[in-house]
Structure formats: C-alpha cells, structure tokens
Amino acid sequence: MSCLCTREVVFAGSRAVIECDGLIARRICDFIIPPDADRGNETTQSSVSFFLSANNSGNFSLFQNDELIWKGTDSGYLAEKFLSQLCWYFADRCNNGLLFHAGAVQYQENCILIPGKCGSGKTTLISWLVKQMGCKYLTDELVFFPFGKKVVQSFHRPLHLKKASLPVIQPFLDVDRIEEKYHISCQFSDLIAVPGNYSGESQIRKDTLKVILFPQYQYDSSVQWSSLTAAETSFQLMQNLVNARNLEGYGFSETTRLMNKVQGYLFTYSSFNQIYENILRVIHTEKKHT
C-alpha cells in the first residue's frame, strides 16, 4: 500500500496526522486539509492519526489510530465522517483554553463570532456574510481561545452546508455551479471550499473580537432581533462551549471574562433581507467602554 500524501494539522492543543492512499482519498484530504493550510507549530498535548484509503473498486475506509472506524462506497460520506471525527477529536481533548462550537468571520480588522448549535444556521449566515457582505471566512465550526494568550484560533475547513440550507443560499451561492475542485457533495450536506483563504492565517488577535451573533434561522418566521447584555451574551455563549467538561470550573469564569468588550445579538430570521440593515450596523460596531 503506497501512501500518496501526508498532512498535519494542529489545533486547540492537539495534533492530527492524516495519511491517505488512493486518488479519491487524496482529493478528499487535499480538500479538507489543503497542502498550504496552516500546520501550526505550537506544542501539543495529544495527537491522533487518521488514514483514508480508497481502492480501485470504489471501496473507502477510514482508520483512526489504526482502528477501522468506517468503510463504505460513498466518498462524500468518507469526507463528512473524516471531518466530523477530526473536529470531535479536537473538542474531546482540548483542555488548555475555551473551545466554542462557533463560526467566525473577519470584517476589516474585527472578528465576528457566530456560535450556535447544529442546525441554527451558522454556515448559512457565514456564507452570506462572506459572499454578500465582504467578510473574510475563518471557520464555520470551531473557535479556540487559548488560556493566557492574546490570540484566537479558528479551525479552517470547507463550508459545511446542509442540503436543507441550499435553497436559502441559492440566490447568492449556486452550489451546483461551483467547480468540482471546490465542492464535494455528500449525502446530507455539501462541502464547499472557500478559495484563497487557506493562507495560514488561522490566528487572529483576541482584542479584535467585537461582535457575537447568535443566529436562529427559522423558515417563514418574522425577524426578531435582540441586543444582549453582557450576562445574556455570556449565558448564550456558555451553551456553545464544547470542552467545558475538560476545564476547571467548566470554563465558566473564563467565558464570562470574554464579555468585556464584546456586544452580543440574538436573532431569528427567515431571509437575509430581514437582517441586512442590522448586520450592516453591527459589523461596524465597536463597544466604547470596557
């Protein structure tokens, strides 16, 4: 068995080494962890290995630390499974900072955090912010605030759009017309690479975080927009702290300390027209007092 490529990615204190064999497996690996992606050079506390394999008969396998965790014939499912295992591993082991289930984009110098549970519409909103509002894509899944450091790490990965969200983003992102090299269609979702943003710039300054958006997409709903107090923002954010059980005091005090210069907004919407004006206003927001 010949290994066609090896990738290494460091995030939230863990290192993942990915090897793959077979052209399709390599394509998936290149797509999720591009050759020019930031490897990170920090010291890590744990490491994991993944092995993606594809043979000529169209059979795929995924191994984690030499243990077979999936095999099948759907390359899209292999991509989804690998990505979810990778994210799960980072969350499971992380104990040296706050790791949030959250997306993030950058607008000019400022970072906008977008926490939310699965199905809240994080990726849908992020797609719109990137395509229509000129934001820079950082991540749609995990954001890490290491203890004692002035930086925030975002976990680069392709946009992970659920099939159900495609009609919502269709007006500005026609998934069917995206070039194959930027797109993997899976059973329940689509993975879409955001070109040009794998430059290794996965760390941003913590003090650039100014705004936290808590979106809730709800079909056919009217818009409800709330500006949150610091305590309300903290309450919402805490619910998206995925490594709380690994942290002393469940990371509760550290999470509330993030609220110093940050303004949170909670909103329900069914179309981007409903939130356009508010988003435009808040992405220029800077909280004036600490």
Partner: protein, 90 residues
Amino acid sequence: MNLCGKPQARSNFIIEKIDKEFVLFNTENLEIMYLNQSAALIWSLMNGTLTIQDMIDLLIETYPEAASEIRTDVIETMQRFFERDVIQFI
C-alpha cells in the same frame, strides 16, 4: 408559595456577576441560568435568614415607586428558582 419560608441558594452553583446581572452555572446538572437585574437583586438577598415576605418588605421599602410589581416579581422569581432546584428552604 409559603412566604414565611427562608430561601437559601444551593451550594452547587458557580456565580458570575456581569455588570448588574448574574449568570449561574449548576455544577451538578450543567445547566446555565441567566438572571436579569431584578432577579439578581433577589438572589443577593437569599442569605438563609430572610423570609420571602421579609425580602418583599425590604425591596418595597427601598423601591417604594415599584411596590405594586415587587410582590409578584419576588414570588415569580422564587417560583422559578424553586422549579429549577436552585434554592432550598431552611
């Protein structure tokens, strides 16, 4: 609700005060609660020596202009605390 009961916060909470509001984290069931200003004020009166009626009287004395809402606010807040197992009566 018995207004003569003396409510006391259970010990299994981590409390963070942010501005004039509180966020509580229950270390047993990992639930998070948000307390707005008035609920935070009521929380801070629960020291195990004041009855609910004492708390109502104290708040009315301090905020006479809000007297008509205070009784309902305190009872509803206590009810909420009790339902979520945040307090015990001693």
